[in-house]
Symmetry: C2
């Protein structure tokens, strides 16, 4: 790997695609564990149909794989799985507690990487 | 701790003070290890005297302690130590390689938390 790092400002706004190449949305924000600086999940901005606002869909960081050709992240999930996942409105942020994070990881079947 | 997490968008723009209460600058960006999503260091925006541009001073995440009353981060370092530390111009980003990160941690005497 040429560059082992990426900046938060570079991640924010980056497109996210599913394995079929469909664009799901883009990364809006990163939720970070204050204690150790580990990114728990990225908030995917998705939706916004018919004049309705977009929602934020938290995705575990480990689900995101950067694709150089697409200049975006690829995640292994389909639209239905995403739609059934945790979400919140941009102006209605949840507390992002340990418990909330556990719900995010559980929905996508990813082991929780922080102590519980 | 009421909120165990913080969002990258909230960190960006947050003020940074030294132990004497002097404002050093504000956080401009976070440099993240792609592989595991761990924040390696925060880029402190500092300087900008006499019409000159500000530089970015990378600080290991573990050096930043959030102070609720100040609504900012407090770091245990003085101005001279900061000025002698690694820095880069905003429009001249280094590669943020493992080696560069090691230099940042070594300057501040913080053990490197990633495999080397």
């Amino acid at each position: 790997m040429i560059h082992p790092t990426i900046s938060s400002s570079r991640v924010e706004g980056t497109s996210v695609y599913n394995l079929a190449g469909e664009k799901l949305g883009s990364i809006d924000d990163l939720i970070i564990d204050k204690r150790n600086g580990h990114v728990r999940y990225a908030a995917l901005e998705f939706g916004g149909f018919l004049g309705l606002g977009t929602d934020r869909f938290p995705l575990p960081w480990s689900m995101l794989t950067y694709d150089v050709e697409k200049d975006g992240y690829v995640v292994n999930l389909d639209m239905e799985q995403l739609k059934a996942g945790p979400r919140y409105a941009a102006d209605d942020r949840p507390a992002h507690s340990d418990e909330y994070g556990r719900g995010v990881y559980d929905h996508y079947g990813v082991p929780v990487p922080w102590g519980v």
